[in-house]
Symmetry: C2
Subunit: 192 residues, 2 copies
């Protein structure tokens, strides 16, 4: 199956900085327990390589490591082995540069960075186009997801590729990042 | 577009009872703040008719109503109008019978109930098959999602249709219900 080939080329990163707040100020958002688990499970389901949680705030990384540790090593791992299995993919790092260095170090190739967001942007690919690109390319591919009110413009400029926003049936485009990530992974890597 | 026709025929219900716990005991799970918001946003994005949160526990319904009230009427509504908009679809009811009575009362037709879950079951439809069924039928359609370790067998027996589980790239089938709901709505109602 093609999925078995594409998933391992793909990683995701959930960025808590730099993202916008509701007033379009650049901020660092707080790590949430649920985002750690939910995206780890999605990553595991679709056979991804790694799931990076990115925050420059040391206390937040310590918190995230503690949550991971509970479900991986402690009583939580025995209580819920599925969660432990998913959290194996999780890496907690200060910045996007750390993600890129990690992936490039392992793969010995430049990472193709793909920015996602809720606003239409010039030159953005559809999920179908990106799916074909990823099937044909070597990767590694890194999908960036923004918390808060989304990734800053700087990240879209820095990205190699931009993915079109998920559209529903109207002009309401306020999916939670967890839902957008699930839908995007399914469109890119799900059974067809 | 076809979506504009199908979405309004479809509602979703998140059941906190009757569902299984990890030891396959029938339990009532707790309402979570995030499930209220996340599924409401998905329902709004895909143009659904209603989003029902079902729990027989009175205190839980009061809690859920209070959360909704905060984001709809109070300071929260002004702070986050997108959230208010989505929560308009939310109905909080004690049982599945209340959901069916509400939908049948409005539509004057029997509801087609569709059960979802993570285990394969005999006679289950693929998302593609259900999509065609819903495009051709009159509805109303109600998709049931289970919290905890999933809907009880009784609900699968009671349902008119059963949807196949979402498969990823392997045998790991532990998506969070929020992610499964997002993927299913996109497969049934998203742009094609």
């Amino acid at each position: 199956m093609e999925m078995a080939q594409v998933g391992p080329k793909v990683s995701i990163a959930l960025l808590h900085y730099p993202v916008y707040d509701r007033n379009r100020r650049e901020v660092a958002t707080a790590v949430t327990n649920l985002d750690l688990h939910d995206l780890a499970r999605m990553a595991r389901t679709y056979g991804l390589f790694r799931y990076y949680v990115v925050t420059p705030v040391l206390e937040q990384r310590i918190l995230a490591e503690r949550i991971r540790g509970h479900w991986q090593d402690g009583a939580g791992g025995n209580y819920n082995p599925d969660r432990r299995e998913a959290l194996k993919l999780l890496q907690i790092v200060p910045g996007l540069d750390d993600v890129l260095a990690d992936l490039e170090n392992i793969n010995n190739r430049k990472v193709q960075v793909i920015a996602t967001g809720a606003c239409p942007r010039k030159g953005a690919l559809s999920c179908g186009e990106l799916r074909r690109t990823m099937e044909e390319g070597n990767g590694p591919y890194l999908l960036l997801f923004g918390t808060g009110w989304g990734l800053t413009d700087e990240l879209f400029e820095r990205a190699d590729l931009i993915l079109e926003p998920i559209k529903g049936s109207g002009d309401y485009n306020h999916l939670p990042v967890r839902a957008a990530a699930a839908i995007i992974l399914d469109r890119l890597l799900g059974e067809r």
